[in-house]
Symmetry: C2
Subunit: 411 residues, 2 copies
């Protein structure tokens, strides 16, 4: 009787996964987009702002002239927006300037409009200003040749704006891995099937995994359903590797009579099995292997196990390949919304395995409470009724009602 090993910890599984190197970098032809990771330092190519800019509507002056305010200055012109720095002022002069306008030569401060009174060609300064007051000086925002973003930085919306400010359109980023999923099982029909005979079920793992991936910025290509036959599945994997870096095989990851994922992987000459079987619940019968440069996950067919293993292992692996430096112990804290919850009922973890306990979360007495959801991992309803999950390491005794736990909300 074959059984699946169940002693490999998530931490050791991650250590093996993280041995694989990041994907090759390319010069990415931007369409600047979220979430790419820089593969090299990006320097600031020029000062921003390119000159001294007014931070308020008012009058460009020499600060020194305003020391003895109130004082009248000669109005020598007006700066327009969207034009190069123009003209200059001498001591005793002022120029009208809008917010964002570039200071004329000679000016080193802006007096707010509120602190002035206008007469014909004179402007009365009611309150003095210091040098650079109400001014954003040249290079104050970004200074030429400073590091704008270090290699390894993940681009956020504001970072795209900063890059675009300089007219940069080519970035050296890590490529995001191309992910492909196919499902195995004689009992499966596409979920679009109208009528199904008893004994068959609709395949939904590819749908939930592809949507889970897209929540985090990864695209998953879905190729379909393949029968429980060695040659059929070997061919499916062979095809999948033609267009993907990472292949997810849903179902068949255990050691039953109809579980072909492992033998299929082993039939490729250049395979390497990193692990088969994890000390976790749900999700024990999980495989990770490489075939040449391709990464292969054998995922449990049960919908709950499938999604849990995706969030716990596949997702950090995708971020890793995409160039992020992953600290596995804080990965979920950095990617999932968390909530501190108090157990309303006791939680009985598995003790020998890391338990991803699904939690029903609700508000009670002005705090968040949670009840563990007891159910078989085949029951999609345990995920549907759960707002989040807690990660309970092995060795924990029963957690009594009242225990505080960190819940990760399902995205």
């Amino acid at each position: 009787m074959k059984t699946i090993p169940d002693s490999l910890s998530p931490q050791e599984a991650w250590r093996r996964l993280s041995q694989l190197s990041h994907y090759e970098t390319i010069f990415h032809n931007v369409k600047l987009a979220n979430s790419y990771v820089l593969a090299e330092d990006q320097l600031v190519p020029e000062d921003v702002p390119a000159g001294h800019r007014a931070f308020m509507d008012g009058y460009a002056v020499r600060a020194n002239d305003t020391k003895s305010a109130p004082i009248d200055l000669q109005l020598s012109g007006e700066i327009a927006m969207g034009e190069s720095p123009q003209g200059s002022i001498q001591s005793g002069q002022a120029m009208r300037i809008p917010t964002g306008g570039f200071l004329p030569q000679g000016a080193d401060a802006v007096v707010m409009q509120e602190n002035t009174e206008r007469t014909q060609n004179q402007i009365r300064i009611l309150k003095g200003v210091n040098v650079w007051e109400n001014v954003q000086v040249r290079g104050e925002d970004f200074r030429k040749d400073e590091v704008l973003f270090a290699a390894g930085h993940t681009l956020r919306p504001q970072d795209l704006a900063a890059i675009a400010t300089f007219g940069i359109t080519q970035l050296k980023v890590f490529r995001k891995p191309a992910v492909h999923i196919f499902s195995t099982g004689n009992e499966l029909l596409p979920y679009t099937a109208n009528k199904i005979q008893t004994g068959m079920i609709r395949e939904t793992n590819s749908l939930s995994l592809a949507n889970a991936a897209s929540k985090f910025g990864f695209e998953v290509e879905v190729s379909g359903i393949f029968a429980d036959e060695f040659e059929v599945q070997r061919n499916a994997l062979d095809q999948a590797m033609k267009n993907a870096d990472v292949v997810l095989i849903s179902g068949g990851s255990s050691v039953g009579d109809r579980d072909y994922t492992l033998p299929v992987i082993e039939s490729f000459a250049d395979h390497k099995i990193y692990f088969h079987g994890l000390a976790i619940r749900p999700g024990n019968p999980t495989i990770f292997a490489t075939i040449g440069k391709y990464s292969i996950f054998g995922l449990p067919g049960q919908p709950v196990s499938s999604l849990v293993v995706f969030y716990q292992f596949v997702l950090p692996f995708l971020f890793h390949l995409a160039g992020e430096k992953i600290d596995y112990t804080t990965f979920h804290d950095s990617k999932f919304v968390t909530r501190n919850v108090r157990l309303a009922e006791p939680l009985r973890p598995l003790k020998t395995k890391t338990d991803y306990a699904r939690l029903r979360i609700f508000q009670r007495n002005d705090e968040w409470s949670a009840n563990p959801i007891i159910g078989k991992s085949a029951s999609l309803s345990t995920l549907v009724h759960a707002e989040g999950f807690a990660i309970i390491p092995p060795g924990e005794e029963e957690l009594p009602a009242g225990t505080l736990l960190k819940a990760y909300l399902f995205p």
Copy 2:
């Protein structure tokens, strides 16, 4: 001299925003996709599983027969995967069954393969089972006519799987609002501009806002840059409303000589101003108005104010229109990754306004520390260097070093 009111609290601003009703519901022709909000209760249309299914590889039996195990049963056949419930067993019989297979008539339990020994046409049961042991009974996962998801539920990856299980392809969901952004300013050029003359700057707010929205599942259409002229901007708004529910006007939201957003909105007959000016920093000169059924935000042109106002007001408003029930006091907790940080330097909030303090976050002594970033809101660098922000309500005195704060990480 015109000034912008600055006494309206974020909470009151939200109360006014939330008066607008959700968008109309439609039967959404699925492509099942993340993040839609159900507009009506979705009931379970049929039992899942449709029959009793084996939860383990093994032998379907009558539990009562195994009471006196070890005992030999007659092997009367084999259940195949993907086939309707077939055959039946009598007392004293067993059928081989794979995980997921439907139990034959008469069977009410499965004996795990590990607990059996096979001889010719006999199977020896080494360990007895209880009724329904190793079986997922009909309707255990989902029972016909129960509420699968209540109206108002936001669809997650596992929920899509649950819906797809039933072959449901039409859902009544809230429509996501169509969002349009245009930017105003004579000094602005498209960020794709190769060379720009001094005095001009590249427009990047539309890029950062569109990417921020896409992080949360909303699409923003960008139409371009319009000059600081009343007619030009009125025309741009008129056009934008043709294809959008919500229009974001970037820049021109203040009361300067070249700020046309407010007069442009007021020039439409059926306008209603909900607010202009908020007691916040950055982001004070923000406008919200409706013109007929269209919602219009006048956003500050400064990049930092723009993104802050987007996350604080536009984003919850988009979720609100998309059908989510928003509790403004917990909105950011439920959408942003948070981190508890300890101030390494004092933070001096504005006292009179809600301060969205940008924080540089780093690890020190095994905990997360943060330094406030001091900078003018025109300085995009303050956002680029910040990992997150804290929301400091008005009235707070200086927060000394050592204070614990909740930081919201920039997505």
